[in-house]
Symmetry: D2
Subunit: 415 residues, 4 copies
């Protein structure tokens, strides 16, 4: 196993690690370690909420979660010789939950998925599911099952939800300006349109005093993906992938975490993947001046790995950009189209005895594929959702006989 | 080969066929034929513009296209015993260009793809490519190549862009109302926000006189996908697929066309697939009362076939919902995120010597996958574009040595 | 569609075509046509027995088949500039049954598969199934079903069983010598150990008189695959494949036929694929001196296409090189190991209500994969058979409840 | 992680473990542990030679290996309630090298592959490569590379080469009888036709004294696969697979080991996979009376898992059952056909600068697919070898330009 350059004791908060991580994007967060191009190393990660969620049957912890402290990231890792304009070539060598462990900390043989309450950010279907729910998943090799959602078993595509390089001061300033401008269009919206910098709960690695104040004042929140990568939540970002990150500061300063055991395209229940602590092994290299050479201006790109589970049987649900509740037509809105595809899938699964919340979790955590259909057919965008039917222990395809409805219990709720 | 229940002479307009088709959605368009559940039959189709585009090196025909007459659909096909509330089970048995033909009509050994001018509806990147362009494709078995885009070869996933059942009068009225409401928010926008009913160019099958007037006055345009299916432009809707269409009128009244030899997710250049005339073989059946039984309220769903080409090597580009031209942040806008992923891919391909227009065509016509990444990470939606690298005759993956730029000519332009 | 350089009227014998084909390998068979490197062209093919088998419910025609006339090959096609030592690069552009046809001739919407009687050559399991049987298959797009084997549907991997280049006189002489030597070890064996040249039934293209006599006297039979390619019966030799054939004579002289709609690895029932007449489109080119350049001495090699159907669910049966009937151990015999894997699969399928003959046909015609396991674990070779479970309309995987046995009728038998 | 029911200290011989394993098949070997149906547990395994091979650049250890002690198996594991006639349902939950370890013992971050000398059993091509060679492989996540074979990288399909249930006394007696009969046909052959029971080196778990003598006298050697499973060396027997083993004795007595990081179909270089020590996690259950219910008489069968790496680009080599060295024809000999396919692949790879030994190792260790082609085309069996081209860091497909030959060093040789 590669050398651990960032270690985590899963029983402790990220704040109390030997070298703490951070929960904001800022170029001044001191590197936790420096590595050489060509090296392979391990980074250990806490689950993204820093351990607030337990392996139990109550969703109170999801309802009461403190998001000021999220995401708890490992890093920054400085790469020798990296300069602005380079491409940082990152191979995801390996990735998994906490190795060889079963225990009370998330990632020690189990993970969870949460539907957040609307007041707490909500999820993709928060208008339809405004309350907090939780499902706990048990890991068995590469497969996950849940006592809260019987009758399904997934082969996970493990991946990090969030890794990225540090922004330059200029890029950070642009982020803050544009996101504040968006927030200002409807500052009281619930859920909020964006998350501005926040002193509460800030962690800046080994930074303290004035520097930590600055990080809190200026540091970008970690929820959205941006030019540096960040919280992509792309389920195919798995082992064997080679990622080309733009470099904006000397040393590149790679950080991340938010490991997922499995996730559907969209991560629609927000805390929607099967979340876990664990480890990730990287190999890093540089393409000097690669941003200009390869035309990279705004985002990483990557070569996906070849270890995704093979599924070949699907049910595909479709949605278009109409709000069918009040028959309002939106112009070429792929987000709405995908939301409708999700709702159509949920309605279908309910006919087989799944509760709406169970179906919502299923779409958030299983390896569904969310595809862009037509986005030019004025005015209706079209998206589709490919649900692999082989994750179910019964055949859920339609027939003249109708679905075999079963009682399937319930997910964890609040009390 | 199955019995042809709707035949097309490719050298003639759809208007001049023995039994003409139609180019509006309306429940009163007389059925062209009636079939029984359990039967297999063939439907022949014109290319969607009714033959306005030629196999030549000028994009003038794309620039000057008359869209009042599109899409030219084959049908309606009435299915005995189908009633509102049923699911019409449609197997796509086979599908292809005009069989055993090489000739001047689209689908006879060749197809085309167009980038439409902004004044003419534009495409997904019309702000970046506002003019008209064309590329012509030659078919060789299941593969397509283009003299206008050298160095690539695709194995096509042939599919119909557009098939659907007829709307009920009530559903049609709702479509017209909601789309007009959208148009009214910015009636002078270019491109238009929507396309209202239009007398000009209307074709209603065998209808004439008052009935044709009514169809022209009320009939929904065929461009957007809606509750009845319609213009999905889903590239995986291919041979071997089983589609479950909601039935809204007696007889179901299945119609369609807009056959594609190959298309990328999104069909981003609008007339973006490799368009062709040809044939499609269907098997139909019914699940009586299936809409309620399976929870179908708004859209078809389907089981995709198993004959897609195998590609396992990709370059994946990412975009988030920020307009990077002026650093404006949009809230959870998957459409914009996918647009940025497309732009990132185009910039990359330009480094290898493709013109922007060639790259745009590549993304519209090759079997790229457009995936929903995170759509919950406030405020930035994230989408990704998987470009199969095996379609290129050289290795286009990044290396320290940089891309090998080649001169690759140019697509067809206007004069 | 490409130019037809070898045409077949399916209602006539290969002998009675405008330009007849041939049924022996010999360098002196006159070319039927000459093509240029870089050209694309179509070859039409008769079903391999020259139309002796009918679409009916009796296996008498299979029992009484005259194999002296098989295989009826289309060609030879001379390629300009090809010389001994070159590699002939052959792209399989397209391939299918008789286009746009339904009729009484094999390939016109239907095909068949036969189990041959032991006295007539038998099949891979002839000791277990010594009599003649037949199953007829109906084509529906890319899928086949059989009234003789209900409950299964395959997506075919269409391919030619047999194509090859002409042998040089020296190579032909070596074939005849070595095969006669084998036959001489047990000249009376049933089935025969090999098939020597045979005057009866010989067809040599346009050759007549002394030349035809010579072809009959010397010409190698077409059953086995050899250094020139020939009767490989490799199911993955499908559309999109690029084959590199060794060239042994000036002009290369490419010939073949024996088209298959679908076949399992091994083609175990001998006439075991779903046999059909039809067409094949080729593109040809040359690598001059390619045999030496790429180390090719004895066989073609190829790059398989990417249009095979996707199956991801299998039951895998295993066999080792022991004859379990009398507990005789054979040394590292992969043939016997695969035979046992086949027998194990048949026993399993019988538990679900398939007759042994139906199961035998299933393995011969469906896209099963026959894999080499260990061939070094003294003394037992191990082979495995991957049966795609998605071809069945019910779930045939084992469970504690046991198999649901059904009555499934019977294949066509002799009278 | 599951409970470890059989533990191994990798720095010690299997003989010196707290509970030792065994290296013969015999029903009287005392169970090391008893587990319940429905339970999940871990078994740790030594590399198959009990640690005789080192991570160095000399093949002397391969040449001098003592095979009397192989294979060193973990177990037997008794399953409560298992009786003869049942099927033991074994899920391979997880599998890998020694977790979280880098060190001198095989499986601690590295593995090896050996070509055995002909006097020592040889391999599939021992007539062509009669001497001993070795290649050492480094593991990086799911990928392996070798300093002895530069320019390739595989994503491993980890699997156990060998697991099985204990034979009944009757079955064991039949094995010994039939294998001795085979040996007696040529008792002095090198390599031997079979391996009879052997006192030297016998290990029988906790058995000693008379019982150990009996095990040595009667116990079947572990090299061949047989009715109980055993040394299948099937590369697709990977994580997520569900295996159905016949039960021949009370408690079933599952044993095994011989873990492989990666292997090609055939394991052609004999010690041919990338060998390693490590762990395997199982879940077990029973189908009572399942052998009769499902028609299982002679071998296990299985449902393969869905976590194999996706490869879609191949070069396919072909062989037929002729010994081309002296033009001898063999009847329907799939073993010889596959050998020729291997030789053809090696000749091809040599043109790119690989030595014959490197190419031999490549075929033994990379995820090549060995397929049965026709096995009915008298007299020539046909087999094919699918070599995934994506394992190479350069494009090795043929072109008119010829191969780019490179110097690639050499494997480890004897001194």
């Amino acid at each position: 196993m590669p050398e651990v350059v960032f270690s985590v004791d899963q029983s402790k908060s990220m704040r109390d690690q030997a070298v703490p991580g951070h929960n904001r994007w800022h170029p001044d967060i001191p590197p936790a370690v420096t590595v050489k191009p060509g090296s392979t190393f391990r980074v250990e990660c806490k689950e993204w909420t820093d351990g607030q969620i337990g392996n139990n049957d109550s969703a109170n912890d999801v309802r009461d979660v403190n998001l000021d402290v999220a995401h708890m990231l490992s890093g920054p890792i400085a790469v020798e010789g990296a300069e602005p304009g380079d491409l940082l070539v990152v191979d995801i060598v390996d990735l998994g939950p906490v190795p060889q462990a079963e225990g009370p900390n998330c990632g020690e043989g189990w993970g969870y998925s949460g539907i957040f309450a609307k007041v707490n950010g909500g999820g993709f279907l928060t208008d339809y599911f405004p309350d907090a729910y939780k499902a706990v998943w048990d890991f068995r090799g590469q497969e996950a099952t849940s006592r809260h959602i019987p009758g399904v078993k997934y082969t996970g595509i493990t991946h990090p939800g969030l890794f990225g390089t540090a922004p330059s001061p200029e890029l950070l300033a642009r982020w803050n300006a544009r996101e504040q401008a968006l927030i200002d269009t409807d500052p009281d919206r619930v859920p909020a349109l964006g998350l501005p910098p926040l002193m509460d709960g800030v962690l800046g690695g080994t930074a303290g005093g004035d520097l930590l104040d600055k990080i809190g004042r200026e540091g970008a929140r970690t929820v959205p993906p941006r030019e540096n990568g960040g919280n992509h939540d792309i389920k195919n970002f798995t082992r064997g992938s080679r990622v080309f990150y733009p470099v904006y500061v000397d040393g590149a300063l790679l950080s991340g975490g938010d490991l997922h055991f499995s996730q559907g395209d969209g991560e629609i229940n927000f805390c929607g993947a099967i979340e876990m602590g664990g480890f990730i092994d990287f190999h890093v290299d540089l393409i000097k001046g690669g941003m200009e050479t390869y035309g990279v201006t705004t985002n990483p790109f990557f070569i996906p790995g070849r270890v995704e589970p093979r599924y070949s049987e699907f049910l595909t649900f479709i949605g278009v950009s109409v709000d069918h509740r009040d028959d309002t037509n939106y112009y070429m809105d792929a987000t709405l189209a995908y939301r409708n595809a999700c709702l159509n899938a949920i309605r279908y699964l309910e006919k087989w005895g799944y509760t709406g919340e169970q179906a919502y979790f299923l779409l958030g955590t299983s390896p569904i594929e969310g595809r862009i259909g037509g986005v030019v057919d004025i005015p209706n965008a079209c998206c589709s959702l490919f649900l692999p039917t082989e994750i179910f222990d019964t055949d859920i395809r339609p027939s003249a006989g109708g679905p075999q409805r079963q009682d399937r219990g319930q997910v964890a709720v609040t009390s």
